[in-house]
Amino acid sequence: MLLPSRPSRVAAWVLFFVLFVPVFGLPIVVVGAASVAGQWNDVLPSHLTLRHLHDAFVSNAGIELLTSLATGIIASVVALVIGTWAALAVRALRRRGAKVIGTLFVLPIAVPSVSVGLGLLVAFSRPPFLLNGTSVIVVIAHVVLVTAFAFSSVSAGLARLPAHFEQVAASLGGRPAYVLFRVTLPLLTPSLVAAAGLCFALSMGELGATIMVYPPGWVTLPVGIFALTDRGAVFDGAALTVLLLVLTLVVLVAVSRIRTRASYR
């Protein structure tokens, strides 16, 4: 035991909470409090109200929420398909090839999101791809940013997969497609679900690339939150942020439940 005496352990715990609670807890609590604050001219907010949360649903923000949801779901599904396909294909390559191609798929992680957005803006404003000003360019930006995570998450899952299941299925005469859909993918379910949750959460909070490419008709929640706080409506911004966090949390909790259930099968 690192700290044998009880007083020193207690001192370590006190240090932990003195650091942990203000640094990580306070920001979340304060944004939560601001989302229901009518006024905040004191240590604690006053005139508690649900007006900001209510406004969030009836104003533009309702549409922004749906926009973010649609973008997040489409981008996650597309990223998951591309990422899983790529991970399976790369696994079948020889070692050198797998390393090179695998690097090509994870490289988007290393490129700043604002630059990803700028690239799409420059490249897709001219033929043959005229997508500037459409919602498609926003979805593409999100796909670029999350596919790398889907790829590496599924690749990690594949590396942990017991190889003999697939070999037994194949040696018993299972055709490749049958082995893929009845053995490999079901065994991979926990990784796939985890990757989907991660992609969705990242897409819901994405700001850097979206703010570069979004058209007026496709404003996502983070962009809307920035527009609100930029013109001083900080409490409305806080209410929308809370909404965004709750939605992300619900999806992450649902994902971890499905994941646990899938791993027991």
């Binding site: 035991m1 370590a12 700043p112 690239g119």
Partner: protein, 298 residues
């Protein structure tokens, strides 16, 4: 990947039974990625070398690299990223040390919370900072109440220090993840033995724990440096006039001034820095044996 699984993977069932070469299957996802990622990347490079009138030229670089705006932003970006990373490493090390070696009943909840925190958007922290330390924030209210001052005395949020503190808050979990994983691998018998031989806690940390943590610290630190170098949400939301970083210059040039060429020049510099750091990170991770997925995944 062990040698055995590598052999099995190279001999995957799909390739053997259909007679189709394995690389065919990689073409489709690679083509999609080429169109949506590598094609735009090429256009950033091409646009950055396009002078007035559309001819190839080095003028955009000469102009941008000599401008005080760019030089200031480059220095400030590196300064903010390095100080934030050092802060994350220090805070993350202390917190991970306590969670791992002085366990308490709620330690698992803390680990879960850390995992969730990674999935939140970074601007959450910037927004919280304005409520806490902003000119109309809680701490300024208290300070004005106590001192009787008429002007808000706390204004660090609107300096680079506000951005650095916000980034430390947001990115510390990215350092804690690999550290917690490394600490869980450490044989606690080593600590017991050192302790029973009379080593004091600080000596155990220095001679037993730190050597084990070095690969995780390097990997977590370089990931943190990469992410803070490219951080946009926190800087944008804090919106301090004097705190301009490279991603902010790209945004300002391309979106507010419609000068794509200038934006692309800065983007090329930013991407080069970032990819270089990423290569370093991959090298460190491959040496320490951890996976990136384990550090980033929620």
């Amino acid at each position: 990947m062990t040698a055995a699984t590598a052999l099995l993977a190279a001999d995957a069932p799909a390739a053997r039974r259909t007679g189709i070469p394995a690389w065919i299957w990689v073409v489709v996802p690679l083509a999609v990625l080429a169109v949506i990622f590598y094609y735009p990347l090429f256009f950033i490079l091409r646009q950055s070398f396009t002078g007035e009138g559309g001819h190839p030229s080095l003028a955009p670089y000469a102009e941008m690299l000599s401008s005080p705006l760019f030089r200031g932003a480059l220095l400030r970006t590196i300064q903010i990223a390095s100080l934030s990373t050092l802060g994350c490493l220090a805070l993350g090390f202390v917190l991970a040390l306590i969670v791992s070696f002085v366990p308490f009943p709620g330690a698992r909840v803390v680990s879960g919370f850390i995992g969730t925190f990674l999935a939140f958007p970074s601007f959450l922290i910037a927004l919280a900072f304005t409520f806490l330390y902003g000119s109309a924030g809680v701490f300024n209210f208290v300070a004005m109440d106590i001192s009787g001052a008429t002007q808000p005395p706390i204004d660090f949020v609107y300096t680079k220090w506000g951005v650095i503190l916000a980034e430390i808050t947001f990115y510390t979990p990215f350092v804690m993840r690999p550290l917690l994983a490394a600490f869980s691998q450490l044989d606690t018998a080593l600590i017991e033995v050192a302790s029973s031989l009379g080593a004091r806690p600080l000596r155990i940390i220095r001679e037993v724990i730190v050597p084990e943590a070095v690969p995780a610290l390097l990997a977590g630190g370089s990931l943190c440096l990469l992410l803070t170098l490219n951080e946009f949400g926190i800087v944008l939301f804090i919106g301090a006039k004097g705190v301009i970083t490279l991603p902010m210059v790209i945004y300002g040039k391309a979106i507010q001034e419609f000068d794509y060429t200038a934006g692309c020049v800065v983007a090329v510099v930013n991407i080069t820095l970032s990819v270089g750091l990423y290569a370093l990170y991959r090298f460190l991770v491959s040496r320490s044996g951890g996976g990136r997925a384990s550090a980033v995944q929620a």
